[in-house]
Structure formats: structure tokens, C-alpha cells
């Protein structure tokens, strides 16, 4: 098997607050091959952004990576110091943040904010950095780049700002680009354009980790999907397999929510109940309180992630039983 661009194994990330340890990421493992697009879905607060920030080494205090390993092309990132991480961020791994409206510096011209990335990582002349900036800005579909280069963020629409963010993340041709809800704040047309842009990026060899709470976006873009619930990966499969043969009750619920959106039914199908408090997780399966197939075992023992087919893994007691038959 070829080496993965990213290999996360048994990652645990927690916040240590006065109210105790908040386990935002628990035992998360994922791998992304070269040029592969991998999606992460899950409800708000399930730890998607924390996985991304753990990879970037950008967990804010009082949070930190507790254990686990993150390999980028075989290089361990969790043991690197801040200085070494600075050399990797923006160059080898880059990230597009969730909020395009607030993720750009309001008092700096957008062109310079992109150009900055080039001058941090490469010893090139100002003029060359500028040329590369202009090139990447037009590559992400920004019209009239020469004028936009000098614009301030508030002078651009949300879609253009997100393109600037993507240009910033792409300009060094990183090995891995993490896009955290890149289209949430945008309308459908712009969303389609951004998705096409990321697709094109992957076709050129960059591995992409796309985070979304929207299965539709993931379905259009990703090859493989990780479904997260309360800090855990509860199911992982190729996109086709996941839509064809969803096994975890939570995944089933998510899919029902999507199809009820598609069929425009008046009542939006949602999964009843709320996400558990990450500081006081239930003893057994964290989804048990909301699960309509909950059994006695589910509230006492935490299920393991088990393989049920090629590249398909599920964390559910129900699946184990089906598997054993």
C-alpha cells in the first residue's frame, strides 16, 4: 500500500476547563491518500474542527492533544515544536477556516494577506511573490485580480472572501488542505463553484480534508467519509458504501435528514434528542440516549470500531452482532 499523505491514529484532544476534562476528540483515526478527498460529517460540536486544529497544531488553550499520532507523509507532527510547526503550516498543510467573513484581517489588503504566505515560506522577490499571488487569485476565479489585490476584506462579498481564503491555502501547493465548512456561509451557486475548485485541487495532487455538517456537500466531493458523533468516529466508509449500506443508527438518521430535505417534505426529519455533554459522557455508547435501537449493552459498554467490509468500519454493538452471523 502506498504511504498516506495523512495518517491520524488514536487521536485524543481535550479541553481542561474548571468543569473538568472536555473530551472533544476521542480515539479518532483517519487516513488520506495523495490526491484523495476525505470528508468528515457530524452535528455541530461533535469535534470536527478540533480534529482539523489538532492536525494544524492550532488547538487553543486550555485544550491540547492528549495522545495519539499524526503523520504527514510519515513525519510525526505531534512531537514537533512551535518553530518547526510554523515551517509546515501554510506550506505543507494549510487550512481554510469556517468563517470567511471574519477570517481575514480587516485592516490589511487581501492581496498582501495571500502574498504573505509566499514570503513566509520562500525567499523570493516582492515582485515574484506578487505575480504568484495574482496568478493564484485568478486561478480561484476572482475577477479583475489587479483591483481585488488592493481591496480590503469588507469590500468583498462572502464568496470572494472565501476564494481569497482558498487562494491563501493553495498558494504554496500544500500536500494537505483542510477545508472546515468552506461553503456553509455561501449561497448554492457559490457553493457549487467552491466545490468544483476543491475538486480541481485534488485532481492536481493535493489531498483534501473537507469538513461539513452537510452530507450533500460531502457526497459531491469526497471519496471517503468519516461520520463523527460526540468526539468519536462512529462510521467510516467510501461515499458509495455509506449511502448504499449505512450501518450506524446515527448515519441512518443523518441520511434520513438529507432525503427529507431533498423530497421537500414539510417536516424536516431530524434525530431526536441532543448531543451529550462532552464533559460527562454516558458510560456506554455516547449515541445510546438518542438511539431507537438501543439495547442493554449499549448503556453499559462502549462499542469498538470494527471493520465490516473493505474500508467500512462501524462503532456499534448492533453491527458486531450482524457481522457475527
Amino acid at each position: 500500500m502506498t504511504q498516506s499523505t495523512l495518517e491520524v491514529s488514536h487521536l485524543y484532544t481535550s479541553f481542561f476547563s474548571e468543569r473538568g476534562e472536555i473530551k472533544a476528540v476521542q480515539d479518532v483515526s483517519m487516513r488520506i491518500g495523495k490526491g484523495q478527498v476525505v470528508g468528515v460529517v457530524g452535528e455541530s460540536g461533535c469535534g470536527k474542527s478540533m480534529v482539523a486544529r489538532s492536525i494544524m497544531g492550532l488547538i487553543k488553550k486550555p485544550g491540547k492533544i492528549v495522545s495519539g499520532s499524526i503523520l504527514l507523509d510519515g513525519q510525526e507532527l505531534t512531537s514537533l515544536g512551535e518553530n518547526e510547526l510554523c515551517k509546515i503550516r501554510g506550506k505543507d498543510v494549510s487550512m481554510v477556516f469556517q468563517e470567511p467573513m471574519t477570517s481575514l484581517n480587516p485592516t490589511m489588503r487581501v492581496g498582501l494577506q495571500v502574498q504573505e504566505v509566499v514570503s513566509i515560506h520562500e525567499n523570493v522577490s516582492k515582485e515574484e511573490a506578487r505575480q504568484r499571488t495574482l496568478a493564484i487569485l485568478s486561478a480561484v476565479g476572482i475577477p479583475e485580480v489587479k483591483e481585488r489585490y488592493n481591496a480590503y476584506p469588507h469590500e468583498l462579498s462572502g464568496g470572494l472572501r472565501q476564494r481569497v481564503m482558498i487562494a491563501m491555502a493553495m498558494v504554496m501547493r500544500p500536500r494537505l488542505l483542510i477545508a472546515d465548512e468552506p461553503t456553509t456561509a455561501l449561497d448554492a451557486t457559490v457553493e457549487a463553484q467552491i466545490i468544483a475548485l476543491l475538486r480541481q485541487l485534488a485532481d492536481n495532487g493535493t489531498s483534501v480534508l473537507i469538513i461539513s455538517h452537510n452530507l450533500g456537500v460531502i457526497a459531491q466531493l469526497a471519496d471517503h467519509v468519516y461520520v463523527m458523533y460526540a468526539g468519536h468516529v462512529v462510521e467510516s466508509a467510501s461515499v458509495f458504501e455509506l449511502f448504499d449500506n449505512p450501518l450506524h443508527p446515527y448515519t441512518l438518521g443523518l441520511l434520513r435528514a438529507v432525503s427529507s430535505l431533498r423530497s421537500q417534505s414539510k417536516v424536516l426529519q431530524t434525530i431526536p434528542g441532543i448531543v451529550p455533554n462532552l464533559a460527562h459522557l454516558p458510560v456506554g455508547c455516547s449515541f445510546a440516549p438518542r438511539c431507537d435501537k438501543c439495547m442493554a449493552r449499549c448503556t453499559s459498554t462502549q462499542p469498538e470500531l470494527v471493520a465490516v467490509g473493505s474500508g467500512h468500519e462501524v462503532r456499534c454493538h448492533l453491527t458486531k452482532r450482524v457481522d457475527a452471523q
Binding site: 471574519t102 480587516p106 485592516t107 490589511m108
Partner: protein, 311 residues
Amino acid sequence: MRGSVAQGVLRRLLYALIAIVGVAALVFVLLRMVPGNPVATLLGEHADNETVERISSSLGLDQPLPVQFANYLLGALRGDFGESYTLGKPVSELIGPAFVNTLWLALAAALVAWVVGIACGLFAAIRKGTIVDRLFMGFSLLGVSLPVFMVSMLLQYVFARYLHWLPVAGISDWTGYILPAIALGWGSAGSIARLVRSSIIEVLQQDYIDTARAKGRTNSQVLVLHALRNAMLPVITLMAMQFSGLLSGAVITETVFSINGIGRLSVQAIAGRDIPLLQGTTLLCTFVIVMGNLAADLLYNVCDPRVRKGA
């Protein structure tokens, strides 16, 4: 875009002018509502009515108020603020040198306030929650809450009378400005430090700081290149407002340290019911304060592209 910036500047200048004339009119009217005839005061108890009237009319005090005001403004435009009743000299000759002394004092105090305030605020912010933070914030709280006269006398006592490091009062060379500048600037330094601290802490939590870090900037680069400018925006306004505060604080400091500045001159003018002199000092201070605020406005515009357009 150039045109709109120039228009904005012109409009602000116009507002500034209106503010100055408005304050001048207010002061003019207020001073004339003070009971008692200044000429009578000037001439002493034994002057007869006829003399008082003769002098009043020679000073133009028998004319209607609007006419007096217009004459006064026309004179002021030529640099003629009338003659001091008590010192017998043209007001312009008195306030000129006094203003220079006050300006030096205020600038020295502003320097103390800005340098100390920004440095303390910055360190407190990046060492948030540590002993350094608490020390600096305690120090600024002290500066904000202690009255200027008390700080002045305390400094005088410790550094001049007791340690003999610096002159007690009066300005013979630049060392004379040190203690008054600290006394006057400490309070402002305190409030600047607090604002700088909270502003930096807030800015460091913004999303664009994450973006900068994700680019590969080191923490100190993020602070200098991305956080500082945004954090200074609210501070600029405070600094301008405080410059006005420094001018009024100068009244006390100048008195304690015997500096012949505008503040001390104003106190003299009030004591002697010297209307032309008081009018002159007030008008000058108004002018300086309005110009200070105008400068801050323009500076804010240069620093914050978001307000530049609507300016």
C-alpha cells in the same frame, strides 16, 4: 476615492471650525454673565461711576454683546486677543510663551503615557494572568485613581526633596519636565495600558489571528503584524481624548511645579477677573483640543480602511 478622502478632510475641518467658534461664543457669553462689573473690580472700590463708564466704553464694553463678539473674533483672526486687564500686556504676548511651556509639558506627559501605557498593556496582555500582568495592572490602577496633585506632591517629596535627584519646581532645563510629566502622564498611562491590554486580548481571539498562524507566522510575528494594528484602533481615540485631559490636568501640575504655562495663567486670570486673558487661554485650549481630536480622527481613518470610505 482620493476626492472623497479630501472631501472628508474638508468636512471635518469645517466641523472643527464650527466647534471652535461655538466654544468661543459660549465662553464669551458665560464670562459676561458673571456678576459684578470687571472694570469696577479693576479700578478698585473707590472709583466713581463716571470713570467706570468711561473706561468701559473705551474697552468697547458698552456695545451690544453680538457686536462685541464679532469684534473679538475679527481681532482674534489677526492674532489680537485684546489686552490683559491685570498684566497690562496684549493677551497674545502672554499666552504665546505660556502655551509653549504647556505644550512641552503636555507632550512630555503624553510621551510618558503612550510609551509606558502601550508597553505595559502589551506585556500584560501577552503575559495574561501572570505576576507581570497583575503588577502592571495594579500600577495602572494606581495611576488612574490617584489625584494628579497628590502624585505631584509625592513625586516632589521623594525624588526632589528626599533623594535630590531632580529639581523640586520650575523649569531651568529639560530635567525640570521629568517629574511634572510623570505626575501628569501616569493616569493616562494607566488607562491606556488597560485599554491596550483588553484590546490585544480581544484581538488575539479573532478568527484572522488563527488564519495568520495557519500561514506559518510565529506568535511574535502574529502579534506585531496582525494583532497590534487592529488592537490600536480604539486606543487612538482614547489617546486623543486624553490629550485634552492632559491640558486640563496641566492646570494643577503647573501650579504645583511652578511652570509658567497656560494652566497657571488661566488660574491667575480667574483670580484677577481678567476676562480678555481668560478668553484667550480658553480659546487657545479649545483650538488645541479640537485639533487634537481632528488629528485622531484622521489617523483613525488612515489605520482603519473600513471607515475610510464613509468618512
